[in-house]
């Protein structure tokens, strides 16, 4: 393989210690991301997808949160071993992040140009003037019309889609190797969502970035990702190439997610739904987190946590009933 691995996360555990007990928000996640590729992390709220991203950037509020164990190799440095200063040099520079809500992620008191230039000045030795010139240039790249004028505007003068472009501009200002986008289009209208996704794809090609895209929307995954990791209750339940996830999903939760999309349903047919709701992350002992909602759950699912196994090269599944010898056929 001549693919260069940008990020290699190994057995990451992030727990939150609360007065009610320990919440195992991320409980043993491993994945790799190649240069120039997009990894989609899918799951419902509380599945640990955002916490995984925040752990990579070491943005977990502590206390109550703590990265208990694991390693996050970015190139050949383990991010979890860096000092805060060293980490600050990476954030926004080599790895940057886009958040879901473009309304709250910008400071209302500074102009857009200022906020983008700030990032550039923090990480590069340039004059304020030069930083502003670069900021305006990057605003042009994310297709904000009349960037020189718009740089003088404040966030409230921008629409939601334009603000998300500003966020992207800010994230890309230092040409990062890795962009983490946490639900970047969830707050946007479909028409604007399509524009923003297309823009991210174009910029990815231009900057040779890797992207981690966190989303609950399988449509967005189908549009943009190369690889997919499905998370449930702090664990990876399935991960594979995007085509395999859509063509040959093997975990019952992935089946449920794929089948519950209304777009697939014929008229008059009932939507497939996953009954019940996501578990309380404090209560899970040694069991499959999905067992209480799984149609196929047997005793073993409630007494042993399934390990992630490689069914085919690159296709990992954590289910007792999906092994090479044994396979459920639920579809």
């Amino acid at each position: 393989m001549d693919q260069q691995v940008v990020l290699d996360v190994r057995d990451l555990h992030t727990y939150f210690y609360t007065s009610a007990g320990t919440v195992k928000a991320v409980d043993g996640i491993s994945f790799r991301l190649d240069k120039g590729k997009t990894l989609g992390i899918v799951g419902e709220s509380g599945s640990g997808k955002s916490i995984t991203a925040m752990s990579i950037l070491r943005l977990i509020p502590s206390p109550p949160g703590k990265i208990v164990s694991g390693s996050v190799l970015f190139g050949d440095i383990d991010l979890l071993k860096l000092s805060s200063d060293e980490m600050r040099n990476i954030r926004g520079n080599k790895i940057s992040m886009i958040f879901q809500d473009p309304m709250t992620a910008l400071n209302p008191c500074y102009t857009i140009g200022n906020q983008i230039a700030e990032v550039i000045q923090l990480h590069q030795k340039v004059s304020p003037k030069e930083a502003m010139a670069q900021a305006i240039q990057i605003m042009g790249k994310v297709q904000i019309p009349e960037p020189a004028n718009r740089a003088k505007a404040y966030p409230h003068q921008f629409s939601g889609g334009m603000r998300q472009r500003v966020m992207i501009a800010m994230a890309l200002a230092c040409r990062p190797d890795l962009l983490i986008a946490d639900e970047p289009t969830t707050a946007l209208d479909v028409t604007v969502q399509a524009q923003v996704l297309r823009l991210m794809r174009q910029l990815q090609d231009e900057f040779h970035m890797s992207i981690i895209l966190i989303t609950h929307d399988l449509g967005v995954v189908a549009e943009t990702c190369d690889n997919v990791m499905v998370m449930y209750a702090g664990n990876c339940v399935e991960s594979a190439d995007v085509h395999r996830i859509f063509d040959e999903p093997r975990h019952p939760y992935t089946w449920g997610l794929l089948a519950s999309r209304p777009a697939l349903c014929q008229e008059g047919q009932r939507l497939e739904s996953i009954e019940g709701s996501p578990p309380n992350l404090m209560d899970i002992g040694d069991m499959c987190g999905f067992a209480p909602r799984c149609k196929y759950a047997k005793d073993i699912c409630r007494s042993h946590k399934p390990a992630l196994q490689e069914l085919e090269p690159g296709h990992l599944v954590a289910c007792h009933f999906q092994t090479k010898e044994l396979s459920l056929n639920g579809r």
């Binding site: 419902e44 939601g160 028409t191 524009q195 209304p262 996953i274 709701s277």
Partner: protein
Amino acid sequence: MNETILRVENLTKFFPIPGDTFFASEKNYVKAVNGITFEVVKGECLGIVGESGCGKSTTGKLILQLIKPTTGKIFLHDTDLSGLSKPELRKMRRHIQMVFQDPYASLDPRQTVRAALEEPMAIHGFGSASDRAERVRKLLQEVGLEDYHADRYPHEFSGGQRQRINVARALALNPDVIICDEPVSALDVSIQAQVVNLLKDLQRSHNLTYIFIAHDLSVVKYVSDRIIVMYLGKIMEIGSNSQVYNRPTHPYTMALLSAMPIIHPRDRRDEKKLLNGDPPSPINIPQGCVFHPRCSRAMDICRREAPVLQTINSGHQVACHLCPNNYGTA
């Protein structure tokens, strides 16, 4: 058999916005809803889709008279709701109920589920205390909750369960029409399917009529019999589910549909027809056809004259200068 239950005629809502100076000669308005007319037939689900700011939620609130329309009439059966006095309106409201988007904000945190469900019945003098208790039991059962849930408080429920409680509350008075304003958009995908199924089941068993307002085109496609596509306070296209989704005629509808996320990675296309720009502000509405600045097929006439809704097929109406003359070349 196709009994019209609700009729909206030329409904308009302009919200005044304060001018720059006190003596500003011309007052500005947000033209949230700008002259829309449609009917709702008993037992159907009418979907309203559009981008944010197109006036779909305002339409819902206007129908319930939660805000007063600027002009226009709303007929429930044959009563004009906009002409009613407050007490009369209160009586009529039991026939139209609403389910809101945010299941966390739409339940009173200090009310038990029982109190929340009984309140509308008490206000409208429904039965005796024991009748109501019985009705609460039945409602909970219908929305898939248990008896013991009745004495719990909203914080003890998940988002999906709260939305079930909201649905139960809307059903409490046996309304003629239920307006669902983005009922599932705050929920997780797996929970969305549960609530959508519940709404569909209840519709079948009670012969309910829904107005289903949402921005998620795939959900609307799944639940609706007929669909209204709105843009900047105006109706662009009305048609049956298959007319709108399989034979979209208005350029805006086509653009909306092509922006829908694909369902399988093999459907990826490099060149999607995407709309440029954002929806313009409803304060400065473009002259002529409101959609022309973003329309790839805009002609001269589109900049001058606003198109009116024309019927191009039975039940299929479109407001576009390209239709019906050029219908088929689209």
